[in-house]
Amino acid sequence: MIDRVINSRGFDNFDFRFIGLIFAILGVGVLSIYSVTHDQGVAFPFYAKQIIWIALGTVAFLVMWLSDYHRIARLAYPAYGIILILLAVVLFEGRSSRGAQRWIPMGPFAFQPSEFAKLVLILTLAHYYSAAPRVGWIQRVVLPGLLVLPGLLLILKQPDLGSGLSFLAIYAAMLLMVGMRSKALGVILLFSLMLFPFAWELMWGSLHDYQRQRIMTFVDPVYDPGGKGYHALQSRIAIGAGELTGKGLYGGTQSQLKFLPEGHTDFVFSVFAEEWGFLGVLALLLLFVGLIWLSLEIVARAKDQLGALLAVGILCMLCFCVVINIGMTAGMFPIVGIPLPLMSYGGSATIMTMASLGLLLNVKRRRLSFF
């Protein structure tokens, strides 16, 4: 079995580069988390826990890599059903943090279904489009939209604006890649425009105060440095203060002295940027671009539509998270709770991201399976 895999070049240079990039970024993440939380003074600090998550993520990566993605895709609908149930459970039983209920407690840890929902959604949509020819805009747009809707609503209800936006992004990306007639596109645009006032009303009305304030103060965070724009401003200060070469490991006063909140999770990029400067940031961006470039290669070489759709979905989800996260820490977007893939601390997100990347690499594989 092993021989066959090697003979069929199951591992090649490409795979090593891909995996190398993943672990390079993971390593940078652990380093940054370590820098912020090394003096935490608890038995199990965040960086140690993150290493455990990475270990578990590696297992998930291997499983997703080495299974047959067709078989995985066949589980998409039931998986989506389970996720919807879990998302509903979160609303009633979940553990809340800062006004949002996102976690299901599991012993000493907590499980965040909305993270896994993203991957399951990609599987579901990819499975939907590839299971049969989808013709006409109802089959291409409306039906998958109806698939997306319940998950989206449950996530927004938590509320988790970041995951909600990721959901929409995945849907839009898949739609775009599947392609549609220009007439259908026009109809969608027209409907969107017509519905926009109502949608805006609905969206804005359903947002929590803190979400609205985040969006409002995005416009001018300096206006009230002690108040709502605090995160945004402190994050910009941290990044800017890194200058060309950075303040060095542990040298980031913004994060070390806790001016920058959430330095190990959503704002891990700011911590890194403060300590390693523009040069470090460029290197990190190159790592991400490299990973995404390899992913694009996988899409381009996909053997079937399911694989291509899976790969595109995962690729777009990653791109979306990376761009939005870095953009929000740099003050280009409002602050929404989207972690930086592979770097931010978090069990669910780390495991899900690594599983996704495993699946992505799986698409490139020849049809040989261990499972």
């Binding site: 990044i239 203060a241 523009f278 539509q305 761009v323």
Partner: protein, 629 residues
């Protein structure tokens, strides 16, 4: 394996569309890179400054004020450690919430707290919100540290006056520099919350006593916790002052006045040293140095006894017959009279259609200069004054230091009034009336003096015409060098009088106590010379003194020096509404002088006791020197 089918052809389409993704992705990454380049390279130094500001806070280290001692080294003002509450505005996220919390925790007035937090000034410097926190309050704040970002409790030295009300007007009190003061150049290096002297010596010598604030820079975390401190500049404590007063004498002076309003000034005529300077009612500088609510302030300011008024240097009263000391010297110098010139006193002086009374209804009969001083004959001085004229009187009064500052080192000294034609035209825009010269010649009418001026006047006479500027601080110790710098006595002027005049007057003043209106000042311990005076309050007198309501009663003056032969102390006593100088004030002067003598006896001969003192008092016979008008 995907089933081949119609839709599989879409795979190729999908893969062709990847170009959009590639281009879009490159664009977005380029945008991110550009943004980061902008933040880190173009605006990097700006953000680095912001991050430095984020972590460092400047904290003022208040200096300890200089200590104040009396002439014998008794501590009059020191500093005690106390807790002060500061708020660092940069760390406050929600000001209204903080005001609420502080109000609840410490029971502060929210309006006042808000005022302090919003006052103009640097945002970088912490604002002082409350001083003299109790230990309980300080603990309360510390235990709520996490809920109170930006709130700091600092240990600072707080002014303390161990003697309480003793010498309160002299020492003064301290307080936060006011916004108006901060505008002035002499307070330029201060900031909101700085403590400065607001009264008395504390105010006059503030520059020396204040010291110099230091500064430290502390690194704080996001909650405002101090992580590391770096002293940028150590504070320098203020200089110590050694006053000329003897606090034992001061206490006696204050006790002598008791509940009465009035002032007692004791000078050393040889140097101008202020030995005691009492003004009643007084105040407790410890209370005033604290932060007072507007209501407490109003209570003090509106107190009818005007406790904040230093009656010794700021109270202005007609000198009454004390003025005759100056008049006698002037009369002799101008040769208006000779010592033997006799003037007949029949109890009144007719001028135009008006009769100016002598205090003694029947008159004194034929009176020479000595007799006129001893018995305080009004008619004699009416006549002399009339002959000299107001301008001559005024010029001599000025020579004796009236109508001008004595130059004592206290803020807001008043000068009194020496009336003259020019003065009246200027002050009242009216011509001088001849009758006013007559009133002025016995120290009534427009003449106004301060007790300090009177003490200086009698001291100058005692010191044979050499006038010293009253000296309050005899030495200053520079805290930085430890050097004790003596401040020399400053002679002000020498009276231009023929040499035989002052001895004559001194002898007559000794006669006042021996046989005249001031016999109640007789002492078995020491020879005393003096002069009584009664400053008339009102012409409406309808019965004996004791029936007149207190606030319409006359002010009682007594000035004295002792020992007659070689004076070492000059005293002025003023009792507001205490009646006649001879009966009310003379005994106080005597008591004070005796205390002084006893305090300065060589240590071996402390045999004196109260019994001896009583004897002198019993020898006195109540005399009245009520002037007429």
């Amino acid at each position: 394996m995907a089933t081949a089918g119609l839709y599989d052809s879409e795979l190729g389409e999908l893969q062709r569309r990847l170009v959009i993704l590639r281009v879009g992705l490159l664009l977005v990454v380029a945008l991110l890179g550009l943004r980061l380049w902008h933040l880190q390279i173009r605006e990097g130094s700006y953000y680095r400054d912001l991050s430095e500001n984020n972590r460092t806070r400047s904290v003022i280290m208040e200096p300890a004020r200089g200590l104040i001692y009396d002439r014998k080294g008794v501590l009059l003002a020191n500093n005690v450690p106390s807790f002060t509450l500061y708020v660092s505005l940069e760390d406050v996220k929600d000001r209204d919430l903080l005001i609420d919390q502080l109000t609840n925790l410490l029971g502060l007035d929210p309006v006042l707290v808000k005022e302090k937090l919003t006052a103009r000034g640097s945002k970088q410097l912490p604002r002082k919100v409350k001083d003299r926190l109790t230990l309980r309050e300080a603990t309360l704040i510390e235990s709520h540290r996490l809920d109170l970002p930006g709130v700091m409790v600092q240990v600072e030295s707080q002014r303390n006056y161990p003697g309480g009300v003793t010498a309160s007007h002299l020492l003064g009190y301290v307080g936060e520099v006011s916004p108006e003061q901060l505008e002035k150049p002499e307070f330029a290096d201060l900031h909101q919350g700085s403590i400065v002297g607001q009264y008395g010596v504390e105010k006059f010598f503030d520059r020396l006593v204040r010291g110099q604030a230091g500064q430290k820079s502390i690194e704080v975390d996001a909650v405002g916790h101090e992580k590391r401190a770096m002293v940028v500049e150590q504070p320098h404590a203020g200089d110590n002052l050694y006053l000329t007063i003897d606090v034992r004498l001061q206490k006696v002076a204050e006790k002598l006045l008791g509940e009465e309003s009035g002032a007692i000034v004791a000078l050393d005529p040889r140097t101008g040293d202020v030995l005691a300077m009492a003004s009643r009612p007084g105040f407790d500088p410890n209370v005033l140095s604290r932060e007072l609510t507007p209501k407490q302030w109003a209570g003090i300011v509106q107190d009818e006894g005007r406790p904040l008024n230093n009656r010794a240097s700021q109270g202005q009263y007609p000198p009454g017959s004390v003025f005759k000391v100056m008049m006698a010297a002037a009369a002799l110098e101008t040769k208006t009279v000779t010592p033997s010139t006799s003037i007949y006193c029949n109890g009144g002086y007719q001028f135009g259609r008006r009769l100016y009374h002598d205090w003694k209804a029947g008159g004194h009969g034929p009176v020479d200069l000595r007799h006129a001083l001893v018995q305080s004959c009004d008619v004699y001085f009416y006549t002399v004054g009339q002959r000299m004229g107001i301008e001559t009187m005024a010029s001599f009064a000025h020579q004796f230091g009236l109508g001008e500052e004595t130059g004592i080192e206290l803020p807001s000294e008043r000068v009194g009034i020496v009336p003259s034609e020019a003065w009246k035209r200027k002050a009242k825009n009216e011509p001088w009336l001849p009758g006013e010269t007559i009133s002025a010649s016995i120290g009534q009418g427009y003449v106004n003096v301060t007790p300090l001026q009177m003490a200086s006047l009698i001291g100058t006479v005692a010191n044979d015409g050499v006038m010293f500027r009253p000296r309050l601080v005899q030495a200053v110790m520079d805290r930085a060098t430890g050097e004790l710098q003596q401040r020399p006595a400053v002679p002000k002027r020498t009276l231009k009088l023929r040499p035989e005049i002052l001895p004559l007057i001194k002898e007559a003043l000794a006669g006042v106590v021996k046989e005249g209106t001031g016999t109640r000042a007789q002492s078995a311990l020491v020879t005393i010379a003096g002069k009584t005076g009664t400053a008339q309050m009102t012409a409406l007198r309808t019965g004996p003194e004791k029936d007149i309501p207190k606030k319409f009663r006359d002010h009682a003056w007594f000035v004295a020096f002792a020992p007659v032969e070689a004076p070492t102390i000059a005293v002025a006593v003023l009792g507001e509404h205490m009646g006649h100088g001879g009966s009310a004030s003379a005994p106080l002067a005597k008591e004070l002088i005796e205390t002084y003598v006893r305090l300065n006896l060589p240590a071996s001969s402390d045999v004196t006791d109260g019994a001896v003192v009583r004897e002198g008092e019993a020898g006195g016979r109540e005399q009245d020197d009520r002037p007429g008008d």
